[in-house]
């Protein structure tokens, strides 16, 4: 189902946890849908110096969360804002089609955390919660 890189992030998730007194914090998803991700960030001199996640969700949800924390640490806030869910999935070498929607929200959580840091509004995108048909 999942490729090796996804499974590696799932098995050995990077940056699990919650930063105490974070500079920004964002949570997306909801329990109905089955995926909740919370990202906390630490910012110094316009740069994200630390990023942690907590995730309730499937393998893809965990892996994308882990992946986004790796992608973002060291980036400027402006660079980090440009990260999309699609980029995260690509960085992981792809996700099963059925997982492209609900479970691939890590970049949203990140952007929400950045918005929190910047004091900006964050409007969650409408996600198509209708999963794709089963892959064989």
């Amino acid at each position: 189902m999942y490729n090796e890189k996804v499974m590696d992030h799932f098995q050995n998730p990077r940056n699990v946890g919650e930063i105490e007194n974070p500079d920004g914090s964002g949570q997306v998803g909801n329990p109905t849908c089955g995926d909740i991700m919370k990202i906390t960030i630490k910012v110094e001199d316009g740069k994200i110096v630390d990023c942690k996640f907590k995730t309730f969700g499937c393998g893809a949800a965990v892996a994308t969360s882990s992946q986004v924390t790796e992608m973002v640490i060291g980036k400027t806030v402006e660079e980090a804002k440009k990260i999309t869910n699609k980029m995260v999935a690509e960085e992981l070498g792809g996700l099963p089609p059925v997982k492209m929607h609900c479970s691939n929200l890590a970049a949203d959580a990140l952007r929400k955390a950045i918005a929190d840091y910047l004091g900006e509004d964050f409007t969650e995108e409408e996600h198509d919660h209708h999963h794709d048909i089963e892959e064989d």
Binding site: C33, G34, F56, C58, G59, H131
Partner: protein, 390 residues
């Protein structure tokens, strides 16, 4: 790595005795049993034997009451659509439950959409049982069929089938039961239980996949679902799946011989597993009925974590299990069964189903009990929901 298979309600390995019984019918006794010649007649007597074995297993009066199908789903489709069409002049109302397998639920939805059939979905209580009074109240003079599963595939709850049979027979309504999970695990007798139609599937009790049967009580007429040749007394077209049917017959024979022993063994393992989980992991919910439960079924919700992640972690340790989480099924909502027994979406997402089979051992249960608590704890540590409540 150690591998422990605990997904026997999804499918079971075929017993070697069954495979052996099937083998000659691939290459040697390969004829079409409907043929006039000896290549076909050679086979047709074995088909008759299989039919008798299946009839015996469920206590049918006559082997002609058995229609071979391609599995449990086809048996469900044939029973429900077959009766809806055959009795459409009598009525258009079907009663079922909220917790049926999709083989029944999607068939009912099809009938609603394309044949104007009305469907009542009976609710269930927290243990997954229907209320008999609800059933009686739901019957109208348009009701042509009651279809209620014998035992649930996810939570293992057994319905009061005997009482349902009595109500149906008294009211003159046909009673179909999807017994795919019950057959080979607990005693079933269609005559005593006043069952008019019953679905079963070979691969759920160590028979081959791709073969099943519908029991149809003598005198009950239905419109075929597989339109074609005159096989199965014109009730199911298509060349007989002889190897599958032979395998099903052998599996039925073995299941009947081993039923008592299997039931006892699995109950012991099941209770050990339930007790072990309860002792080792806090904040869990046991789903299903505490006693009216299939011997093979354990279903537990682990709060704050999600099922697919749990499955993947168990898989990494060699343990094969399943979950009612949406993510494992390709649909948005978690299992309709878990929602019907009153669980919240959040909790339902964290369900784990461990289902036992004839090849499981005590040591395997010990291994699962060793591995499971750590996996749950790891995922809880990762969960934003767990933190929030601690």
């Amino acid at each position: 790595m150690r591998r422990v298979y605990l997904d026997n309600s999804a499918t079971t390995p075929t017993r070697p005795e069954v495979v052996e019984a099937m083998l000659p019918f691939f290459t040697e006794h390969f004829g079409n049993p409907s043929s006039v010649h000896s290549f076909g007649r050679d086979v047709s007597k074995y088909i008759t034997e299989s039919r008798e074995q299946v009839a015996k297993l469920i206590g049918a009066k006559d082997s002609s009451e058995i229609i071979f199908t391609s599995g449990g789903t086809e048996a469900d489709n044939l029973a429900i659509i077959g009766i809806a069409l055959a009795q459409k002049n009598k009525g258009n109302h079907i009663i079922t439950t909220q917790i049926e397998h999709h083989g029944v639920l999607h068939t009912c939805e099809y009938l609603k959409k394309y044949h104007g059939v009305e469907v009542t979905y009976l609710p269930v209580n927290e243990y997954g049982q229907i209320c008999l009074q609800d059933l009686e109240n739901a019957i109208t003079d348009k009701t042509i069929l009651i279809t209620i599963m014998f035992a649930n595939n996810e939570i293992g709850t057994i319905q009061p089938v005997h009482e349902i049979g009595n109500i149906a027979r008294t009211k003159g309504v046909l009673f179909h039961t999807d017994a795919v999970q019950a057959i080979g695990s607990i005693p079933v007798n269609v005559q005593e239980m006043k069952i008019d139609m019953l679905s079963l599937s070979g691969h759920k009790f160590n028979g081959p996949k791709g073969v099943g049967a519908l029991y149809v009580r003598k005198g009950v007429k239905l419109v075929p679902h597989m339109h074609g040749g005159a096989q199965e007394r014109k009730r199911r077209g298509s060349t007989h799946n002889t190897t599958g049917i032979i395998g099903l017959g052998k599996a039925a024979e073995l299941a009947m011989a081993d039923l008592d022993e299997k039931q006892k063994k699995l109950t012991v393992l099941r209770d050990k597993l339930i007790k072990g989980i309860e002792e080792r992991v806090p904040e869990i919910i046991l789903n299903g009925h505490p006693t009216e439960r299939l011997p093979q079924n354990v279903n537990v919700c682990f709060k704050y974590i999600e099922g697919e992640s749990l499955l993947l972690n168990l898989d990494l340790q060699g343990i094969g299990a399943s979950s009612g989480s949406a993510c494992t099924s390709g649909s948005l909502d978690p299992s309709h069964v878990l929602l019907a027994i009153g669980l919240s979406h959040e909790v339902a997402h964290g369900s784990l189903r461990l289902t036992l089979g004839i090849y499981n051992t005590e040591e395997e249960i010990d291994y699962v009990l060793e591995v499971l608590p750590g996996v749950v704890e790891k995922l809880r540590q990762m969960s934003p929901l767990y933190n929030a409540t601690k």
